[in-house]
Amino acid sequence: MNSPVLDRLIRWFHQLGSPPTFDRFAARWAPWAYVLGLLTMAVGLYGALFQVPADYQQGDSFRILYIHVPSAWMSMAIFALMAFYAAIGLVWRIKLCEILAMSCAPIGAAFTLITLATGSIWGKPMWGTWWEWDPRLTTELILLFLYLGVMGLYAAIDDRRNAARAAGFLAIVGVALLPVIRWSVVWWNSLHQGQTIRMFGESSMDASMLAPLAWMVVGTHLWFVGSLLTRARADNLVRESGKDWVARLVEARR
């Protein structure tokens, strides 16, 4: 069946794999993603800070949820996306997918770091300490190590394609093992703790309190797109540094 739309879509997808085309695409759309992301997050943060009433149990510290939860979701989603890109890159040897997978890692690590730090800061007035070894934070810490492992492996191998393949394979192994790790930590926690209830915003939320969260989720996703495009563009330029189109690009920019 002939579908002109589908044909155009497939052709666009293939053209995007060409390094100079991707460079133009990323340079053009990254600013939009950043700006839209910033605006959406601004709306969300304004709502989180000034519109939502303080929680009767946790007071104002509850507002940290609007940063902690979207970052936690991003840390997981980016890891899955990174493994997805890596799998496509490994199976079909598509350079762009390798680049995208490796560009996901630092952004995912950043969101994981935010999740851990805000979780610790949120927990201090709740638990009295900066850290508790509960399943969610422990799994998040392990996730940070997985991200750093992918980044470290990619940086350690000189040949960029081999490095991306090795690090991509590590990401896939990580994604496969992550549920096992999470389940093991939950089991471990039930064995040893079972005491204080972890107050991490599981209290049922009113609809009006959900809106800033939705804005933040959308905003962080848009920001991620902008960051991903820029990082991929940088990696693309580095890999293609000797090529003709890069030389023409910098001459045209003079």
Binding site: I64, I67, H68, S71, L113, I114, P125, T230, V238, S241
Partner: protein, 54 residues
Amino acid sequence: MSYREYVIAAYAVFVVVLLWDFAAPRLQVRAALRAARLRVSRIATREPPAELRR
């Protein structure tokens, strides 16, 4: 208990990390373009290779 310092600290972490996430790739792109520019100028000022003599 005043939660204000904690909220400020958490939001500050968010802003700082995202600022780094914004700045780092921009610097990488700029460094890559500068390296390419230097390479182009190096090649342009290169002596043309001598002809092979048979």
